[in-house]
Symmetry: C2
Subunit: 146 residues, 2 copies
């Protein structure tokens, strides 16, 4: 059972009404992972975005944990859009419950409700833009520091 | 006069047909800058994406030229989506002709033709995703190097 109200707090659903989420709900999947399992492996294909409903994950790049994500956060946004391999491994640090939207489901959402689709993609693009901005600042600071 | 065929080569219009571009053309603006003029200034608001039709620009961050962009390339994508200040200054290195889409025009495109809008936003998100991926690789290599 996917809780529509729980999904509304994720930035990807910003501006999307509960009725709109209800409509696309049949296209969403739920998933459960035990601690230690990896929903996403660096270098391997992934075509899903994951919404963390409960539990925590470690984001691992080249063997190093670079971030920990929690309830209310998402991963897999970049892999959802392009067809490149995953940029990082994501490993469940605890038991993990997620809602997933696959690339195929996203396509189906665009056919079912173009308005909802375009809001989701707009939110996604804004998210990526914010991350790019942060990354950009980070690179600039490192360059100044060295 | 905006040449529809010229616009088709930009990644933002990937998959958008000449007929669709023709339809939204009244919402696009053209602009001309002389060498030395700055369409975009670091820290200042900007709400437009620019398509370089002819000429070249320097992308300048904290006084340092970090990139040169040419015909067929775009800038301002990030500022179009969020309401944050520009992350870099863009200065015309030669006489410069551009096509511009403002945030307001983008909104109007969504009202006029939601399908075209959603394709453009999807292309934009893919572009940002690719840039994020490159930036990510860059940061990783620098970290390994230091």
């Amino acid at each position: 059972m996917i809780d529509v109200n729980a999904l509304q707090k994720y930035s990807l659903f910003g501006g999307v009404s509960p009725e709109q989420i209800e409509k696309i709900k049949p296209l969403l999947e739920t998933g459960h992972f035990e601690a230690g399992e990896c929903p996403q492996v660096e270098g391997q294909p992934n075509d899903k975005i994951y919404f963390i409903l409960s539990g925590e994950v470690d984001v691992i790049k080249q063997g190093v944990v670079i971030a920990r994500l929690r309830e209310g956060e998402t991963f897999g946004e970049m892999e959802l859009l392009d067809i490149m391999p995953s940029i990082a491994t994501v490993r469940a640090a605890t038991a993990l419950d997620v809602v997933m939207i696959s690339n195929r489901a996203l396509y189906d959402i665009s056919k079912l409700d173009l308005k909802t689709f375009s809001m989701m993609i707009m939110n996604l693009a804004r998210d990526l833009s914010r991350r790019l901005r942060r990354m950009d600042e980070l690179v600039c600071e490192e360059t100044k520091g060295s």
